[in-house]
Symmetry: C2
Subunit: 337 residues, 2 copies
DNA sequence: CCTCGATGTTGAAACGTTTTAACGCCTGAG
DNA sequence: CTCAGGCGTTAAAACGTTTCAACATCGAGG
């Protein structure tokens, strides 16, 4: 490792004091143009890179925020992250992405690390309700895609109950009366909310609660969707649902694959609704009906809320967006031959 | 903001010196169990969080590495990132993900930031050749999915020339003699390599170079694939290729969508080969033939190489993996009615 | 000629840790 | 009783910045 050139080396090389170098770095306008040039030249020549730790230690602020994402492999979250990043960069902040991968332990570790790093703020889509209540340790936290139940912090969410209701109402209107909902684990708030919305749709339509079969999955990933498909087909034909509402598009895509593999047709044998409307939903084997959420706006808004967090008269806000149903081929009206 | 409790506050509260608190934090075994308990209790009680900046400033090391990814929305890279993270976490390092989003400026900013942060090491899939040559500033850098041409750093790559050759050879064997390659911009090394492989396949089969029409795109994203599809269909039927090799799966998925929309059939009117074999390739409208790369292993290996970087007798290594063709429906043999 | 304000520069004191050498205490051996 | 050695603890010196009050220098206004 190089002897690591510091601000004093630069100062000496340029024939000024270290305070002046610091000024060139942080308040260029306050130093005379000639000196500034000389210092910049010295910086260039010596290959000086400011030591952020020292800067932060003294200055107290870090110019970095972080987004702890639930599943970096889910395009929904990468889209949210893009919104976050755009907003952050407009505000002159850098963004660190951390992937909890739905693992509470990992999430805790990252939060601890971020607190230690004294980031300016943390955006998080928490793994479960417990972690959503994480002790605030001086760093502002904004919940993303999850509503803060207590008023202790800001949150940006989408009305998942409404989303579930939209999806299942659509299926009911298409004539389905035996419907499966696929999703899990139930420790995830979104899954619970979407199920609640589904139940509400049944009630609204005067259908009994057992018109909905809930198949719980271990995660919200493609492979689990395939597994659920097999379980579904395994059911006796008389009780087998004619439509499925998946808690996200990854599950729906897996389900779709599984149906094709088992020789069943979508939507004829099984209508499918997904959730999130990720880009791949439209490109699927059967273009997927899905519930669209304003992904980038979700992230962008969350970042903006975070920025208001240390304003003097800040009070926590809870923004809630409306989802929207996008109808495609996977729920085309059932043919009655 | 809270008055921020420091190590000395803890020390005072526990009736010991700050050095002892530091020992509890870093070398718990060296301090007497009773004292340790007392200190831990004080930490808990005061809600002390170690200031990482100060730690790092004094200790010199950061326990963090970073992966600057080319496109966080591309599942290929999130899979690579997962491999990186697994390896990092096994080594007790945290991983920060930075998304350059194929933007050279963004990439430079992040690299600067990471240097300032004095991260232990940087993994990067660079935007273009210029950025791949980025001045090393004391922080070890490993190239991911790109070969380091000079011997100045380690790299982990996949043989893209071979990949392109596999894809196009497969198309030729299926009887295609007018083939399109879709990808870009050409500033991306992978695109150039895959095209070179495609040309080699032509040569091997004794086909003229103009059997391959290269359609350059502005990026490697789904929307560009759709655009390319329209351009393709716009060609006079006599010159229109009967098969397309896409530089990645996102383009291929876009192309697929575009074909369906324009009423053409895959593979009958156009056979399609993608690249990367992302999870969604198998779930596409027409399951996609694709060139598979060992994604997670790529990331894992890169992280491991990075870790060897500050061993005393380190010499830069260039690992190169072999890709593999996965044949699916999108290149099923052309029917000749 | 003196004073004043503006403009540029600087010396030195933080910031909150880790680290090192030294310290006091206790125990067991001589 | 003395002394060597081990053990646990500590005072104080870093680490590389930023910041602030103070200090030159200079031109203009009185």
């Amino acid at each position: 490792m190089k002897p690591s050139v510091g601000i004093r080396d630069v100062a000496q090389h340029a024939g000024v004091s270290n305070a002046t170098v610091s000024n060139v770095l942080n308040r260029p306008d306050v130093v005379a143009p000639a000196t500034r040039q000389r210092v910049l030249a010295a910086i260039e020549e010596l290959g000086f890179v400011r030591n952020e730790s020292a800067r932060q230690l003294r200055a107290g602020s870090s110019r970095v925020i972080a987004y702890v994402v639930l599943d970096a492999a889910n395009p929904f979250f990468t889209d949210v992250a893009r919104g976050v990043e755009d907003a952050a960069r407009e505000a002159g902040l850098a963004l660190f992405l951390c992937n909890s991968a739905s693992d509470g332990g990992r999430e805790r570790e990252y939060l601890e690390l971020l607190h230690e790093q004294r980031v300016e703020g943390i955006l998080i889509t928490p793994v479960d309700a417990a972690s959503a209540r994480i002790a605030e340790r001086g760093t502002p936290v904004v919940l993303v895609d999850r509503e803060a139940t207590d008023g202790t912090r800001c949150s940006v969410a989408v009305d998942d109950v409404l989303g579930g209701e939209l999806a299942v109402t659509h299926l009911i209107e298409n004539g389905h009366t035996r419907i499966a909902m696929i999703g899990g684990p139930l420790s995830i708030q979104q899954v619970r909310d979407r199920r609640e919305g589904a139940m509400r749709a049944l009630t609204n339509a005067g259908l009994p609660a057992d018109a909905l079969t809930f198949l719980e999955t271990r995660s919200l990933q493609v492979a689990e969707g395939r597994g659920a498909g097999e379980r579904l087909v395994g059911l006796p034909a008389s009780r087998r649902p004619t439509a499925a509402f998946c808690a996200n598009d990854l599950l729906a895509l897996g389900l779709l694959q599984s149906m094709t593999q088992q020789g069943l047709r979508v939507p004829d044998d099984l209508a499918v609704v997904g959730y999130d409307d990720i880009e791949f939903a439209a490109a699927a084997a059967v273009p997927l009906t899905s519930v669209r959420q304003p992904r980038e706006q979700l992230g962008r808004t969350a970042a903006q809320l975070l920025l208001t967090e240390n304003e003097p008269d800040h009070e926590h806000r809870h923004v809630k967006f409306q989802p929207e149903l996008v109808v495609r081929a996977s729920t085309a009206i059932k043919r009655r031959p």
